[in-house]
Homo-oligomer: 159 residues x 3
Amino acid sequence: MAEKKKTTIVLFSGEYDKAMAAYIIANGAAAYDHEVTIFHTFWGLNALRKDQHVPVKKNFLEKVFGKMMPRGADKMGLSKMNFAGMGPKMIKQVMKKHNAMTLPQLIEMAQELDVKLTACTMTMDLLGLQKEELLDGIEYAGVAAYIGDAENGSIDLFI
Amino acid sequence: MAEKKKTTIVLFSGEYDKAMAAYIIANGAAAYDHEVTIFHTFWGLNALRKDQHVPVKKNFLEKVFGKMMPRGADKMGLSKMNFAGMGPKMIKQVMKKHNAMTLPQLIEMAQELDVKLTACTMTMDLLGLQKEELLDGIEYAGVAAYIGDAENGSIDLFI
Amino acid sequence: MAEKKKTTIVLFSGEYDKAMAAYIIANGAAAYDHEVTIFHTFWGLNALRKDQHVPVKKNFLEKVFGKMMPRGADKMGLSKMNFAGMGPKMIKQVMKKHNAMTLPQLIEMAQELDVKLTACTMTMDLLGLQKEELLDGIEYAGVAAYIGDAENGSIDLFI
């Protein structure tokens, strides 16, 4: 039995459009029977946040980060033409018209396709994000696990 | 006969400097006899726009996007030190002094070196870009074609 | 004897957080016995600048670039939540609390782990950076050398 091809994506960026690109490629690769991992680090962790407030104990700086960063995929801005939040509204309106999947739908689909969604524990610590605040059913790992996944990958991307 | 090595680049970003990096790597890989594809998606599509206005039918939001996005490679801004358009002028002045190729020249060279320039049809729809507005001699494809190119690539980058 | 795996990273971005990600992955790969290269180009060159002023002859535009760009890794801003310099201070405070390595420490560690740090000579010319201004013990190369390193790489990233 041939071994499965692997696709490993580091999602570093915290923008709606970049996260969309990451998830579209991930889901596409999964559909082509790749073993796919998205390793969420730094601002990319925000794509995994639950959209409601989760009461956890935080120190002052962690609270500031928590407030300033988008709570979940749907609240992320655009990397270009964000226009103080108008850009995402425009893009979402167009996406609706074209029946394109939204980012939360793409993430749900990734989970159904068994794409492994990993949160980088080191940057969770730095940004003060706790497991309770992130989506259920994801994994937690560090850079060593990422290297292990990526070094045998057909497609390795940093987004 | 040995199979050719492949280089596949996703050009997501719409900035002059990032597109330059993408095309310099692409042309370098082509010179080393790789089979090279640049898959232009989201803001990266703007590198493929013709620099003159092309009269096509658009709805309101498509017109807004069309106006706000740079029309062609030469009009793109910088990812750093853009200074409301001063940065690109400065960089271009320096490039001229050093006889460095401009982005439009790099794109022309890529076409001469048979680099496959692909426009992502899904994001063309979202941004309201039509084939008539893009350069001649390019290809049109979706994420499946990208996966097919990238999964056997020696070099896969997301820029 | 099995050949070593290779990791080749293009560091294009000039932000503290992105450079941190690049160096954490590079050092991780080196710890897993990969042969690792970070190819610094465009704004990524700033990570290699010495933090003191080095008196070299520059023309007007080169002086402007030299002044506007961060002098060394420690002075780089964040790609998100920079808040006119407050963001990096906050992140560094949190990093200190967590005993996380700073970017200058990560670069030093990379040099100890024999990660090859390369400066792109073409963009050094464009930005007017001279060898005297960059860290000791690094290498100088162009896109051809990058392709040579990357085409046999297990992990190739553009950051």
